[in-house]
């Protein structure tokens, strides 16, 4: 797996322990970890005492509202795509960015297809865990195929409507 972050390959310093047992979580490497929502809710204090960066992964049936008052604790929020057809995380991403103002790393994990990177980027993802040897080239293709955006998604890209009616 390769991590693509902000358009470049990136060393992943996080260990994903979200599928492990409680002991694994607390005894895992001293470095940053990604935990599940349930682990966070049961071991919040222990996890905070570790003093490392923390990440959390939400399953597609877990809404980001569960994190709305905890966002300051997470440097990474990963949203899982159990299959590329499950599009719930697109909504979660927008809610995290636009409603709760989350500014950290928003990572797409699971069944992430190259053809979806552009959509994911538009809703607020800035990193992607991919099965590909050539992530940069793939990213550049995915990001440049389409250059017109009709929807304001909070990603900073000017929409067609905004450009049509720009002052002057």
């Amino acid at each position: 797996m390769a991590l693509l972050k902000d358009g470049r390959p990136h060393a992943d310093e996080y260990t994903d322990v979200s599928a492990g047992t409680t002991a694994d979580v607390l005894n895992s490497t001293a470095g940053p970890v990604i935990v599940s929502l349930q682990q966070w809710q049961t071991h919040r204090d222990e996890l905070l005492r570790r003093g490392t960066h923390l990440g959390i992964v939400l399953r597609s049936d877990e809404k980001p509202d569960a994190l709305s008052s905890d966002l300051e604790h997470f440097a990474v929020i990963a949203l899982d795509f159990p299959t590329f057809r499950d599009g719930r995380a697109y909504s979660s991403a927008r809610v995290l960015r636009q409603r709760y103002g989350y500014a950290g790393e928003l990572r797409a994990v699971g069944d992430v297809l190259l053809e979806q990177l552009h959509f994911m980027h538009r809703v607020g993802f800035n990193s992607f865990l991919l099965e590909s040897d050539n992530v940069v080239a793939e990213w550049e293709t995915a990001a440049s195929d389409i250059s017109v955006w009709y929807q304001p998604t909070g990603d900073g890209r000017p929409t067609a409507i905004q450009q049509r009616h720009a002052a002057g």
Binding site: K63, F84, R85, D86, G87, R88, Y90, S91, S92, R94, Q98, R99, L113, E115, Q116, H118, F119, M120, R122, V123, D145, I146, S147, V148, Y150, Q151, P152, T153, T159, A160, I161, Q162, Q163, R164, H165
Partner: protein, 551 residues
């Protein structure tokens, strides 16, 4: 009508080139069929029983003569010389070769057409009243809002992987010609007590295996809030709609399970968060799009009813066509002329390339170059001067497009059925043909009057059988095709789902069963009463007796 600006045309062009690269990767074997499937579906390309099928959107059913000629060109160059107009105002080509699809799409893009989101679990082509802009009973032109919705929904990054497909229909007239109550979202424009036009928002209607009439979750929505409200509905559905079973994944199931009140509560809560954002439609954009639809300056004509009456007396065929195929135009001296695609010469909705070209020419001569496609698989020339109707009719007779049966017994909706479709259990087209053959006597057809017959070849209901006055559903019964009947359905403002008559009929018995139903109707109807109204008055019993014998 709307013309693409640089943004619209750039997007469609880029999309074609993106798909061209994806097709090349599939043809070289770099992509497997499994990997390619979601990519082709997002561009309207299905794999059917015999070949690929390409579905092209006709946004809200509006075509220019130039676009119609492009559809003819695609039929001739890349297919077998014909196309099939669908109940969603789209066109399908049934025999296309994969390697030629990118070229076909490029030709279509040059005429401002595409197949984006004509399949897949995303927001599909928005449909509308086929008389939009010219209907005498209209409050505003729904095409303005349809085009706004078209752009907003195109490649929407949040809503391209919904639980299931999503269909929006818009009407702005009290007579619902767009079947808005059987759509995922139906928008019906009306005026609030202050006289301001806005939308009633209906959600959760639908057909398929589990049909529902939609429920109103908002009585009046200011047009400037249209996109934020749609986005709120779609977000609730995207997050809360079922994904464990594709037959329970449409929004109608969610609305049914949690109830319209709870669904409304969730939507309104979401809407409160996003209402005052960039989704708010600028008045300048509404006006920019409205200007495209302002349409031609109509000539000042006087009403030509007297002339038409004389012409009809001299030419009874013309008289019958006038009676069945005309609708009132909002401008004096003009008429809306329907062109029936329901003759015995072709399956419902099918049209040859030569006919498409000829209709494009007729649109240029008689109707400001404009054509519409309606959800009953017919065409419309929206603005014909009444004095031109006779020459138009004479030309349509030569083209075998002058069948005088709009809204009558032989104007049958039928899905492609088992002749083409891999989902079907039974054939639809031959049943439509057998019924049509029985009702060739126009006097009899007109004596029977207004009635809709809708045929689906399986429970997915692409032929809208639930909302046909007479609905026919093809099923497979131990390897044999059988046809179940429903009565009393409607997709109009009085929308209703039909009631089952009882056991089904074999293919040979289906058309005789229609005959029995209609004979019963003629025997019990009151003077001037439509089939639907008679059924609502007398109920199932007399029809049951006619079909199955006295109990």
């Amino acid at each position: 009508m709307y013309r693409y600006d640089e943004f619209d045309s750039t997007l469609v062009r880029e999309r074609v080139e993106q798909f061209r690269r994806q097709v090349a990767r599939r043809l070289s074997g770099e992509l497997t069929e499994d990997q390619f499937k979601p990519l082709r579906l997002m561009n309207g390309l299905y794999l059917q029983l015999h070949a690929y099928m390409l579905r092209i959107n006709i946004p809200y059913g509006v075509l220019s003569s130039r676009q119609m000629r492009t559809l003819a060109h695609v039929a001739r160059t890349y297919d077998r010389g014909y196309g099939h107009f669908t109940t969603r105002q789209n066109i399908q080509y049934n025999w296309i070769q994969l390697q030629q699809v990118p070229d076909a799409l490029a030709d279509l893009a040059a005429a401002e057409m595409h197949g984006i989101q004509s399949s897949g679990n995303c927001i599909r082509n928005v449909t509308a009243d086929q008389y939009a802009g010219v209907a005498a009973d209209e409050i505003d032109d729904p095409r303005v809002y349809c085009e706004i919705i078209r752009q907003w929904s195109t490649l929407h990054p949040e809503f391209s992987f919904l639980p299931r497909k999503f269909k929006i229909a818009v009407t702005a007239a009290p007579t619902d010609r767009a079947a808005v109550q059987v759509h995922d979202i139906g928008l019906r424009m009306h005026r609030n007590p202050d006289g301001e036009p806005g939308f009633e928002v209906v959600v959760g209607g639908g057909q398929g295996r589990t049909p529902f009439i939609g429920q109103t979750i908002r009585e009046w929505l200011e047009p400037a809030d249209l996109l934020s409200y749609l986005e709120a509905i779609l977000r609730v559905y995207n997050q809360d709609g079922r994904r464990d079973n594709m037959y329970k994944s449409r929004i109608k199931i969610l609305v049914h399970q949690i109830g319209a009140d709870e669904f409304r509560r969730r939507v309104e809560a979401e809407w409160a968060e996003i209402r005052d954002t960039a989704l708010q439609l600028p008045a300048a954009e509404i006006e920019r799009i409205r200007a495209h639809f302002r349409g031609p300056d109509f000539a000042t004509l006087s009403d030509a009813s007297d002339l038409l009456e004389q012409q009809a007396l001299a030419n009874p065929g013309f008289g019958a066509w006038l009676k069945a195929n005309m609708a009132p135009h909002r401008v004096a001296g003009y008429a809306i002329a329907n062109i029936s695609l329901k003759s015995l010469d072709a399956p419902p909705g099918d049209m040859t390339a030569a006919q498409m070209d000829a209709v494009a020419d007729l649109a240029d001569t008689y109707s400001n170059g404009e054509i519409r496609v309606n959800h009953r698989q017919n065409l419309v020339l929206p603005s014909v001067a009444q004095r031109d109707l006779l020459p138009l009719y004479e030309r349509l007779v030569e083209l075998k497009l002058a069948t005088a049966n709009i809204g009558h017994v032989s104007d049958i909706i039928a899905c492609p059925g088992l002749d083409y479709c891999s989902l079907a259990n039974a054939r639809s087209i031959p049943i439509a043909r057998q019924i049509n053959e029985r009702f060739q006597d126009l006097d009899r057809v007109h004596e029977i009057g207004e009635v809709t017959i809708n045929i689906s070849g399986c429970m997915n209901a692409c032929g809208h059988h639930h909302v046909g006055n007479i609905g026919i559903l093809g099923v497979d019964k131990r390897g044999e095709e059988y046809y179940q009947f429903t009565l009393g359905g409607s997709s109009g403002a009085d929308a209703a789902l039909g009631d089952r008559t009882g056991p089904g009929f074999s293919a040979a018995e289906a058309a005789p069963a229609v005959e029995k139903i209609l004979q019963t109707y003629l025997a019990v109807r009151h003077e001037g009463e439509r089939f639907l109204d008679t059924y609502r008055r007398v109920g199932m019993q007399p029809f049951k007796e006619a079909l199955y014998g006295a109990a």
